[in-house]
Each structure stands twice: as structure tokens, then as C-alpha cells.
């Protein structure tokens, strides 16, 4: 099953590259949202591979907290831009 992580890492490089390259703040936010989901799914995959419950809990936490913080950040950015 370990082969899954290789393609996942390669795909993860795309949003990371995009967040460096694009100057527009909303495009950056999109890229970060994508990074947040993808890393948490990778954490889940690793937790299943190692059969370790605790890593999986961390993955689920990152999944919800990461997205929630991005929502807050988006609202703040909207206010600042007005």
C-alpha cells in the first residue's frame, strides 16, 4: 500500500507551487485550502497504513480545524479589502 503516498506527494506539490507563484490573494487561499485537505487525507492514509488510531485522530482534527481557520481568514481578508 505504500505506493499510494508517492503520487499523493507529487499531487501535493501542485498547490504548493501555485501558492508560491500566484500573487492574487484568493488564488493563494485556494491553494492553501487544497494543501490543507490533501495533507490531512495523507495523515489518514498513514494512520491506516501503520494501524495507529492516534495519528488518525490528528488527521480528522486537522481536516476540520484547518478548513475552519481558512474560513475565518477569508472573512478577515474580505473585511480588510473593503
Amino acid at each position: 500500500m505504500n505506493w499510494i503516498l508517492g503520487p499523493m506527494l507529487l499531487i501535493l506539490l501542485i498547490p504548493i507551487y501555485e501558492s508560491f507563484q500566484d500573487e492574487d490573494i484568493w488564488q493563494k487561499m485556494l491553494a492553501f485550502a487544497s494543501v490543507s485537505t490533501k495533507t490531512s487525507i495523507m495523515i489518514l492514509v498513514i494512520s491506516v497504513l501503520r494501524d495507529d488510531w492516534m495519528i488518525g485522530v490528528v488527521g480528522v482534527l486537522v481536516l476540520s480545524v484547518g478548513n475552519a481557520s481558512l474560513m475565518l481568514l477569508a472573512q478577515v481578508l474580505k473585511r480588510v479589502n473593503e
Binding site: W26, V48, V57, V60, N67, A74
Partner: protein, 95 residues
């Protein structure tokens, strides 16, 4: 026999998820608008990730409470994040 079938289905789900990831993430680099990229990202990050987690669920059913929790969190948070980003990145219409 059934074990093998479940194995094949779970690998199928994971591969489909990876294809969705690749297809939906690739347009991020392009010059399209934020909203267009949101559409493709909802293919990749929501549907692709759901497929991967379902594949894991079929492989290791003993961890089902955590993985179901992950599925629910994924579907709801990602979708609502898409809505919030769409809302915040567009201007208020004047009419």
C-alpha cells in the same frame, strides 16, 4: 473470493480518488478565474478525497468510527469552505 473482491474494489476507489485529485488540482496552475478553479477543486478535494477514504474504509473496516467521522467532516467542511471562498472572493452586486 469475497476478500479478493473487496480488495479490488478498495484499490479501485483509491485509484479513482487519485485520478480525481490529479485532474482537479492541475487547473490550479492555469490562468482561470477563482470560481472556475473552485469547481475543479470540489471534484478533487471533496469527491476525490471521499473516494480515497471509502477505499481505506473497505480495507480496514475496524477503524470505521474514525473514518466515517472523516467522511462527514470532509464533505461538510470542504463544501462550506467552497461557499465561503466563493462568497468572499466576489464583489457585492450593486442593484
Amino acid at each position: 473470493m469475497i476478500d479478493q473482491l473487496i480488495n479490488i474494489v478498495s484499490y479501485g476507489c483509491i485509484v479513482v480518488g487519485l485520478v480525481f485529485w490529479l485532474w482537479g488540482t492541475w487547473p490550479l496552475v492555469g490562468p482561470r478565474s477563482v470560481l472556475y478553479k473552485l469547481h475543479t477543486l470540489s471534484v478533487a478535494d471533496t469527491l476525490g478525497s471521499v473516494a480515497i477514504v471509502v477505499g481505506l474504509l473497505l480495507k480496514i473496516p475496524s477503524e470505521w468510527p474514525l473514518l466515517i467521522m472523516a467522511l462527514i467532516a470532509l464533505a461538510i467542511w470542504n463544501t462550506i469552505l467552497g461557499y465561503v471562498l466563493a462568497y468572499c472572493s466576489t464583489e457585492e452586486p450593486n442593484d
